[in-house]
Symmetry: none
Subunit: 133 residues, 4 copies
Amino acid sequence: MFIEILPNSDTPIYTQLMYQIKIGILKKEWSYGDGLPSVRSLASELGINMHTVNKAYNLLADEGVLVKNQKGYFVSERAMMASNEHTKAAIQDKLKEILIDKQIFEVSEETFNGWLNEIEKELEGQGKADADI
Amino acid sequence: MFIEILPNSDTPIYTQLMYQIKIGILKKEWSYGDGLPSVRSLASELGINMHTVNKAYNLLADEGVLVKNQKGYFVSERAMMASNEHTKAAIQDKLKEILIDKQIFEVSEETFNGWLNEIEKELEGQGKADADI
Amino acid sequence: MFIEILPNSDTPIYTQLMYQIKIGILKKEWSYGDGLPSVRSLASELGINMHTVNKAYNLLADEGVLVKNQKGYFVSERAMMASNEHTKAAIQDKLKEILIDKQIFEVSEETFNGWLNEIEKELEGQGKADADI
Amino acid sequence: MFIEILPNSDTPIYTQLMYQIKIGILKKEWSYGDGLPSVRSLASELGINMHTVNKAYNLLADEGVLVKNQKGYFVSERAMMASNEHTKAAIQDKLKEILIDKQIFEVSEETFNGWLNEIEKELEGQGKADADI
DNA sequence: GTGGTCTAGACCACT
DNA sequence: GTGGTCTAGACCACG
């Protein structure tokens, strides 16, 4: 799994990391039960601080995406990632902001749907390939 | 135009304000050339800091949604709000995050489309009413 | 509110702090909506690190005991502190451990109930006094 | 005696093991003078580290629940398990934490007593059955 | 002045 | 060698 971090982005590093890991799971580069790199090794590999990785891992554990035990962090069962109310509300809020900007900046329905498809195709990645076998 | 600010919210006040103004424009409560309340008056009306209103107005001017002259801030022509590359990229980034979470938390296509429709209907709101006249 | 931290205890400082704040709320030394000391001021007052206070505040916010906004941390409404399943399970697990030790070490029913009453009386504190008025 | 270890748990394995052994004693599956499985055999049976079993046994010996001699670890007399001051204080501290959370999260007296009874019944378990013989 | 983020580095608990 | 805790100190976002 190649994780790319942009240190000068306005999204915090730990947030970037959370999404990169989620993408890795969606692309089936990690599966249920797989262990993630240790906090310290991933930190040194990415050239960032241990605590930043730790924060990302912990938030993912709070969301139910990862589980932790004394041995480290692991990908949890999909069933555990049930979206709670808080998560749902957050998604809806973000969606509302996007739709407002879509209308204000007059992004056409075609362009918007093009983006949707493009991103969904990108997220399938390896998973799609597997399905084709 | 009724602007509602939630002081206890994760989203910064200036961001809330930006979206509330955009909603006002979408609902046609303000049209091209209309002047916005002065920074000071809006700040006191909403009970928030003057600098916060100023920041929101300035960012909206950066986005091309408002224009500023010696008299104050005004709603710009829709054509001026053409999405520049930066804005487009921002929308796409947000969209990607949403779609990742949608898949990770297994939000069904139906539920997601339901949200989309619900929000779009909400955004029509007053605008729709006007059209009916 | 006097908060006492034992740096050499085996319970982490942030946990001690969480319980001390909860006690403060139970004793009505803080009420709904009251703001807590700033992360940095409480840290310096207690002679501990800012991040430790921050962790305690954040965990209390996760539990619903506090709410945070851009202005700081505040005591949330009692209704918001609804015990979720996770919290309940944690309490039950702890309770089971206590009852096991109670029986293993042959703590009599009388002694145990004495402890219960003693602690509950201690927790009433100022609240009881108010009720007496 | 069936000992169940949950490797994915917040409570350390050695702690889980300590309580499982205490439960075994309460349920009279081991009595005064009975020898416990050797450190190595129990470790391999449970699929955990030898040091972990050793730590649990040693702590139980510290608490007076087990005694150690050249032949191994044995259940000590009930009288030896008399709660020392340190143990008492530990129980009271835990109890205080529970009662704080009970009040903060508004667990009703009925619910709480329900939990108490449920757990005590569970701890009788096999012991109760023996008594019936 | 408030909290948020990030870094650097130390010591400890668990296995 | 794993994560957990704590400290110290810097820079940024928000109001």
